[in-house]
Subunit: 402 residues, 2 copies
């Protein structure tokens, strides 16, 4: 699987790309394929089990039912130990009756589609699944909102068994972020199983675009950390100036609130390669409580996803409210919506309520009444962020906000 960090001498490491491990096309390659196959076999057996229970009930002439976790904020808890928003134990039970027969049938057909997708090594977006149903006769969906709800239910159902929607082969329609730096992505071909080695140091001013689903990927890296960046502008600057080479890291552009694929990519990368993740976003309530909080612990109304998609190991590099003072950054006044968002975070958000340093930081921001963008560092020179800000920050990672 992913090569462990080898703590090479900094100089040497920063000069060349991750080593081309000869094993990547040999043993490791078949290991990757075997791991993916194992996961697929597990997925199919879990679908079979769920459908099997329904089948047994029917044979016993009992009314079959399916129990889905309740997807609402009331059924969510935040555990500092696990580090993410977690779905609770409340269930809603859907029993097969005359009134529920259509929804019940649709749920089973959707599960059947998932099984088929795993078996053919294919995938479907929400839209694909909706249009596929047009051939399900009486079980077809009239509106995509209906099929989305059924898919969300199935996702929640299997999430308590440890399966993500992507493992069920339902993939988002949206693209992932862009990646550059000291990382080799290993991607087995869906037909031949042959592993493609994608070296993210070799894209010039461009980058690697994360696919819609990343479950099948593995990684090799000797990077010291992942830098998750809010804006395309800052990402492009760091990439064009090869910051990943001097700082020995991997750059990921989130382009605002990161997509599912981007979050899952960062999480898998950090888990499997045991490297820390640092977030670099605007200093405003949106950057802190939407972008960073979603990256780190997930979002409240999709807590059944957090176990797969959050990055609990993420820490906040900046821009912090104290940076506005220390670096004398140009600012904009906080808008009403900013103030509301900040107050809401302090009052209602289990994550910020748990972490004292965050409360202090948000209170400081409210008191100053201003916000600052990460590009505000350009006041001191376009490359100040590369030459001064980031190196200084990275000397004191222990002081990053949690």
């Amino acid at each position: 699987m992913a090569a462990r960090k080898k703590t090479p001498s900094k100089k040497a490491a920063s000069k060349k790309a991750p080593k081309k491990a000869a094993k990547a096309n040999g043993r490791t390659s078949s290991e990757i394929v075997a791991r993916n196959k194992k996961l697929d076999a597990l997925t199919v057996s879990l679908i079979r089990d769920a459908a099997g229970d329904v089948h047994k009930d029917i044979e016993k002439r009992a009314k079959p039912d399916l129990a889905f976790p309740v997807r609402s904020l009331k059924n969510v808890s935040y555990s500092t130990q696990k580090g993410y928003f977690e779905i609770g134990r409340q269930k809603k039970v859907r029993t097969l009756t005359v009134n529920t027969v259509k929804g019940f049938a649709q749920t089973l057909r959707m599960m059947g589609l998932s099984k088929e997708l795993v078996e053919t090594n294919d995938f479907a977006t929400k839209r694909d699944a909706y249009y596929q149903s047009k051939n399900w006769e009486d079980a077809r969906f009239e509106e995509q909102s209906e099929s989305d709800t059924v898919m969300d239910d199935i996702e929640a159902l299997f999430s308590v068994r440890g399966l993500s929607r992507e493992q069920l082969r339902f993939v988002p329609d949206e693209h992932g972020g862009a990646v550059a730096g000291r990382l080799v992505v290993l991607d087995p071909d869906r037909e031949t199983g042959q592993v493609e080695r994608i070296d993210c140091t070799r894209f010039g001013s461009g980058a690697y675009s994360i696919p819609s689903t990343v479950e099948h990927l593995s990684f090799e890296t000797d990077a010291k950390f992942v830098l998750a960046i809010e804006t395309g502008g800052v990402f492009q600057r760091l990439q064009s100036h090869k910051f990943w080479q001097t700082a020995d890291c991997i750059l990921v552009s989130m382009a605002g609130v990161p997509t599912r694929a981007t979050r899952r990519f960062i999480r898998k990368l950090s888990d499997e390669c045991k490297i820390p993740v640092y977030a670099f976003v605007d200093c405003d309530p949106y950057g802190i409580s939407n972008i960073y909080r979603t990256l780190k612990v997930g979002s409240g109304n999709a807590a059944h996803l957090s176990q797969f998609f959050c990055v609990p190991q993420a820490r906040f590099l900046g821009v912090t409210p104290q940076d506005i003072v220390d670096y004398r950054l140009p600012t904009h006044p906080l808008q009403d919506v900013d103030i509301k968002r900040a107050k809401d975070a302090l009052k209602n958000d289990p994550f910020f309520k748990t972490h004292k340093p965050w409360q202090k930081a948000i209170e400081q921001l409210l008191k100053m009444g201003v916000r600052a963008e990460q590009q505000a560092l350009a006041k001191w020179g376009l490359n100040y962020v590369i030459d001064e800000y980031l190196p200084r920050k990275l000397e004191q990672t222990a002081r990053f906000l949690p």
Copy 2:
């Protein structure tokens, strides 16, 4: 520069990646660097000329002025011959007076920043430029909207001399689209000039992410066409199933209305490698008149950009209104906003007014009163788009809408 299409036998070509031309790291490499340097030298000399005129006026104790093209719909024309929206000859003249001194100084400083960026082989986003100005003392901008306007003026000023904003090294903050398929991108390193060869057949299920600016890129390809795709979902399907291999093409994901970088990338690729561009978007007024029209001829309120950013060689593969009938696609009713957009296109848009086949197609859509998404083809199977729809369409490219 870019390798010409070599019309290899279809079978052979579809099996292997574009040939690694040995010259890529030799002569061609230095040619690429030389071409970029020449363009940079031209840029600097044009900035010098503009500033020199001002300087001469001052030395003669005359009032210096700068003449900017008027940026409004009234000053736009559509030429079928050139194939894009073109800015007219109306100019607004800004003369240096007591009242205009600040704006005048800001314009000159912004031109100076551009010159510095070219000379240091660097770049700045709109935001970067705004924050840079914070050190320009009395010439600093108070709001980013002010600096954006000055940048737009400068862009328009130099566009009539054939320079794009990207050549002035002012780059968009947004990412480009994703690319996969039979293409090698040649990207010279900004410091060493060493050319990175990025093989877009080697990204597994991922893709090449287009950088913010593409002026410095060159290409090698033997692909037969570029397929520009609206949705990430369809792009991912075609990429994961390696449609580019069987169809001998290059896939570009636009993710809605394409960004500047994506449009410029497609344009450069098509121009330099002499390959056609086919658009594959939803069959609705947004897909037709916003996404496709913007890709092909540009947008009305930014006509000074069209010469660089539009892709006049683009043609419309589908989904056409007739496809809804021919392929019995599931549809949604047209909303009021769709109807308004379609009627507006028929009545006011110089592009659609020029092309009869488009008028007929839009009228047909209005008459049917429905729209269809490209993913609606999934009704006939998830891979129907790959196995049936696209191959059939590609047999009759002459019938594509203009």
